[in-house]
């Protein structure tokens, strides 16, 4: 039976660019910016990287197909480089591939880098259409706010939540992320926003207003991973270990089989269950010090708290309003501002989440630093609730 990857791979170094409307630079320079930070952090030369994975979600829009954009931008020495894509979960997929390669003993040091350069094309986050697929003949092409607002409609119906309470709770989710983003010098949005502004913002897809939706950004993030022994050999003592990375993908059950009630994300629950098992976590509410979750929309973060077992079903509205997930709360979420404010360069986001957990575990999070965090979780969600790919990763200090 597979033993999993817990503590077999550690992070040697990480890098992350400033996210936002990066009119000043292209995708190649973004990759270099993140990579150079990671190299300095790891204390290695680029020639020591033995294999690399590039995460780009929207190749038609910006960076380009294949692994060549990464190999060329970083001038990697003809090592194996692979491009991965799994919608918004792409960043974690790149990390998973690099971690698995090291855990398997296929290489000693591997790179995972995610990048997206969206702003040059005017891409606003609407889904790209497929060309010539049978799905084109029947599937409705709604926007992502539309797809995730359905979560709110089903959640409200299932739990009998008052619409006003839900609106305030999802508003609080975004208010909290703006508070945190304001303390993050690399964040796309660094301005606190009042609850009144959030609640009165133009409607995008009921009940999601403008501030309930994250935008998209330019940016890159990366991780250099290796074995604990090699990391110690590089002079690193305070090591951040990968305790678990688990992925779960829809098979059509939610959207084609008549059981799902639409009020939760099944893949998040599946991936979380496996990740907790792999990491040896038995009580996430007390063991987890922080989370970085896929807050593409405020309702997603709220429901994710239940899907990760951090709130009881139907109670996340009240836990959110009680401040449980605020930066000073019992279980802080999105200390870096999340997708909402740090930004969402799609292929980089999973690695950006890991970057914040890594920095919090090492005490490098500046004004956002939380005391005594031993375990942190990232949740990176691709697709929409009815057709999703969920990646849940757990990071902690090496025991």
């Amino acid at each position: 039976m597979a033993s999993g990857i817990r503590d077999r791979v550690v992070i040697a170094g990480m890098g992350c660019t400033e996210f936002g409307e990066r009119w000043d630079t292209g995708a190649d320079a973004l990759m270099v910016e993140a990579f150079e930070e990671a190299l300095r952090d790891a204390g290695i030369e680029r020639g020591q990287i033995e294999a690399a994975w590039l995460g780009v979600a929207l190749d038609d829009v910006n960076v380009g197909n294949s692994a060549l954009p990464l190999a060329t931008a970083l001038r990697l020495k003809n090592i194996p480089v692979t491009r991965v894509e799994n919608m918004c979960a792409t960043g974690t997929e790149a990390l998973r591939a690099a971690v698995y390669a090291v855990a398997a003993g296929a290489c000693d040091i591997a790179l995972a880098l995610g990048v997206e350069k969206l702003k040059d094309t005017g891409y606003g986050g609407l889904p790209l259409r497929t060309k010539g697929l049978a799905n084109d003949l029947w599937m409705p092409y709604g926007s992502m706010p539309g797809a995730f607002s359905q979560l709110a409609s089903a959640y409200t119906a299932k739990h009998g939540v008052d619409a006003g309470d839900l609106k305030r709770a999802i508003g609080h989710v975004s208010w909290k992320s703006h508070q945190n983003g304001a303390l993050n010098p690399k964040a796309h949005l660094r301005k606190p926003v009042s609850m009144e502004t959030i609640l009165n913002a133009p409607m995008i897809a009921e009940p999601l207003g403008l501030f309930d939706c994250c935008g998209v950004s330019d940016g890159a993030a990366c991780a250099i991973v290796t074995t604990p022994d090699i990391a110690r050999g590089l002079g690193r003592n305070d090591l951040v270990s990968i305790k678990a990375i688990q992925l779960s993908a829809s098979n059509g059950w939610e959207s084609q089989y008549g059981e799902w009630d639409g009020a939760y994300v099944r893949n998040t629950r599946e991936a979380a269950k496996r990740a907790y098992r792999e990491a040896g976590v038995t009580d996430p509410r007390t063991e987890m010090g922080m989370t970085e979750v896929h807050d593409c929309f405020s309702i997603t973060e709220l429901v994710t708290m239940e899907d990760l077992g951090l709130s009881d079903d139907g109670r996340a509205v009240f836990d959110v309003l009680d401040g449980t997930f605020d930066r000073e709360g019992a279980l802080p979420c999105q200390t870096d501002g999340g997708l909402k404010c740090f930004g969402h360069p799609v292929g980089a986001s999973g690695l950006r989440m890991a970057y914040e957990v890594y920095n919090q575990l090492l005490g490098r999070a500046g004004e956002r630093q939380r005391p005594s965090i031993d375990l942190g979780l990232t949740h990176n969600l691709g697709g929409a609730p009815a057709n999703s790919i969920a990646a849940v990763s757990i990071f902690g200090r090496l025991d």
Partner: protein
């Protein structure tokens, strides 16, 4: 000659109605306009002559299965692509049903009906739909409407053909040509007077003579007036005493072109009692006249009166112009989407898409679309699924979005998960939501609609969309 009957009738109007008074007010500065009373029906962006004809035919056909099908329209979306064939697929008819399209003038549907009554054997469905292009300022724009009607002819039924006549006359009251895609209309008094004198009066007299009845014996009429006011003078000239129900249709929805007389016939069928005589006249480059004697009440699917009375009214003239294609708005980058359809994919899946055909697996679960390996969680491998049409299966909302970001020509864009009573679950676009506030659990019905329009290549595909099971009642104007 064997007796021939109407076996069933159907009628369809789009959800939206334009308040003519509001439109006239918008045009008031110009002195242009048209009729100021009543409403005109407005097809959704995803409706055309074919989709509406399918909806009317659904009211007429079930549970009968015709041996031949005629699609009639002067505004058919395709010149080379058999729309009668798509109509058959949408109705779930087999591939060996005889299908054809007719056009040429707006009386083509009544011409086809007459032929089916006189010449054809077996059951023949005539389905007429119309979404005609008009230009702002033209009185036709407000006088006309979008809609559809259908009739099924058989060797038995509720109304027996007792007389008929046909008359060709190149009386050019309106014309549409390649060089003039918007209708050009002649002087209205000339049309009215000559239509009566040259066409309608002699044809009606001839049909009455063949039937051995007097015009005054007719209880209800469905006569397509070329211009308003024709009926009153025609009735006086010929001695007709019956109400012309096409006038009601024109007031509430507009002149429906090839569907107009059939819509009036559907209305008359609903009102007439056994023994009543019903007159039908299609007009355009002459006339076809039919006389029926009611023998029973028609089978009803949807009430025709309800069709007229339900929907939502709008006073928004620019919205109407945009929906009707008379105003081209710049929808910005969000609308810059390539909708090219792969012909090979359409050939593989078109029948299932047009017929909304899902599949039942060996465990009894129904799904859409069909897949090699069923979606049932306990499926173990590929298997052949049994065809299950979903278009008439009751359904409910599982989750719903009111999407104001996604491009649609008539925002907002509604979509969600739809649960069918037979177990199938499908992600679908919701339409005709205006006037209701759909919630999780609300009942839905399926509507045949345009799925995508490839404006770059002039092509469109069709699929089904979900709509609230019942439309709201229109307020009296």
């Amino acid at each position: 000659m064997p007796k021939r009957y109407l076996k069933s009738v159907g009628a369809y109007l789009p959800h939206l109605r334009l308040d003519r008074k509001a439109a006239a007010a918008a045009l008031g500065w110009s002195g242009l306009g048209g009729p100021k009373a009543g409403r005109r029906s407005v097809a959704g962006w995803d409706e055309d002559a074919l989709t509406m004809a399918v909806e009317a035919a659904r009211g007429a056909v079930a549970p009968n299965s015709p041996e031949s099908v005629v699609f009639a329209s002067t505004s058919a979306p395709f010149r080379e692509r058999l729309q009668g064939g798509i109509l058959c697929e949408a109705l779930g008819l087999s591939g060996d049903v005889s299908a054809m399209d007719v056009a040429g003038s707006r009386r083509c549907a009544v011409s086809a009906l007459r032929r089916a009554l006189l010449d054809a054997r077996g059951d023949t469905l005539i389905a007429a739909g119309e979404k005609r292009h008009t230009v702002p300022g033209s009185s036709l724009q407000l006088a006309w409407g979008d809609g559809a009607a259908a009739a099924l002819v058989s060797d038995d039924g509720f109304a027996e053909l007792i007389g008929e006549a046909t008359l060709n006359a190149d009386l050019v009251d309106i014309y549409v040509s390649d060089e003039r895609p918007a209708p050009y209309q002649s002087e209205e008094r000339f049309i009215r007077d000559e239509a009566i004198e040259m066409v309608l009066a002699p044809a009606i007299r001839q049909a009455c003579g063949k039937a051995g009845i007097e015009p005054a014996d007719i209880a209800f009429a469905a006569v397509h007036e070329p211009v308003a006011g024709t009926w009153k003078l025609l009735a006086a000239a010929v001695g007709l005493k019956a109400p012309n129900l096409c006038e009601e249709v024109a007031a509430a929805a507009g002149d429906l072109g090839s569907a107009h007389a059939l819509f009036g016939l559907a209305l008359a069928s609903e009102r007439a009692k056994a023994g009543d005589i019903v007159l039908v006249a299609g007009f355009g480059s002459g006339a076809d006249v039919l006389l029926f004697r009611m023998t029973a009440a028609p089978p009803t699917n949807d009430s025709v009166l309800d069709t007229l009375a339900r929907g939502v009214s709008t006073a928004n003239y620019t919205r109407f112009l945009s929906l009707s294609g008379a105003l081209s708005l710049d929808w910005g980058p969000r609308s810059e989407v390539d909708q090219k359809t792969a012909a090979s994919v359409l050939a593989r899946h078109g029948r299932d898409m047009h017929g909304f055909v899902g599949g039942r697996d060996s465990r009894g679960n129904v799904q859409f679309p069909k897949t090699a390996v069923p979606v049932s969680p306990d499926a173990t491998g590929p298997e052949q699924l049994e065809d299950v049409p979903l278009s008439d299966v009751p359904a409910r909302i599982v989750s719903i979005a009111t999407d104001r970001l996604n491009f649609t020509p008539d925002p907002p864009f509604y979509f969600g998960l739809v649960q069918f009573d037979n177990g199938a679950r499908v992600a679908m676009e919701l339409r005709d939501v205006e006037g209701s506030a759909p919630r999780v659990g609300d009942p839905l019905r399926m509507r045949f609609r345009i799925k995508s329009i490839d404006r770059k290549r002039g092509f469109r595909t069709y699929f089904w969309k979900a709509a609230p099971a019942e439309r709201p009642l229109l307020e009296t104007v």
